[in-house]
Amino acid sequence: MSTEQSRLQRKPLPECEECIKILQSYLDHETTPEENALVERCLQICSVCREFYEYNKTLIEMVKRLRKTCPEQLAAEIRNKILALQTC
């Protein structure tokens, strides 16, 4: 890709404003087929929106990794209490 091309691609397109506005909803699969088409068109040609997209996507993936699991002792305690309620 030439410098000229990459410079042109960083110039906001008319769709960019709308694209940025709905990008998070797009990542959450909460957009309509028309909105998906708009975002995907913009991501193909605009590096600014692409960067915004990648950043948000990475952030969501990092948050996803923060999941905690229930301590085994607590899980056992709850199962036992439920079992006691079931048998009384």
């Binding site: 404003e17 950043y55 996803k64 607590l74 209490k81 309620l85 079931q86």
Partner: protein, 207 residues
Amino acid sequence: MQKTLRSKIPSYNHYPMEELTPQQQISAEDIQLFNKEFLPLLDSAYNFAFRLTLDEDDAKDLVQDTFLKAFRFIHSFQKGTNAKAWLFRILKNSFINDYRKKVKEPAKVDYQEVEAIYNSEEAEAGNNITTDLRVEVLQDMIGDEVANALNSLAVDFRTVIILCDIEGFTYEEMAKILDIPIGTVRSRLHRARNILKEKLENYVKRH
């Protein structure tokens, strides 16, 4: 990437409400239902409880209360609807009623004000991209830094992030769990992620 929870959400009046009395005799069918649908949700419930309370002991108590409450009210759960959303709504209500006062809030926020500002900002969304956004910088961060930033958000902001990004709820499901309109879910979630980004960027600048 697909959302895992698309099943039908029951209307508000099918969630357990304070005025309901717990069923004394729980049928064998309901016991089976509880063991099959609800007990596998212990990890998700603990994760949500921990992120709400930010305290391991409180999270344990909250999860225990939630499961015992869910068991006592199992007769009011509509079979075939979303068990996880039903359980999370009980957990969220228990947190608000019994734990929220105890939790030391990292930041007091007037949500209506914040959301109003954000909605007006969203109209000018094109201005939201800053040159500070660098995926590489974000990828270099360790989990603790992201966790600290997340925990420092006001509880209503971290709640929507947990429900959406970790638990995979749809906006509609979140609206039902939190008793707020879908539009509020959307704007609160987007705002929450933007604040999280700002916190992480500030962290990078400081270190």
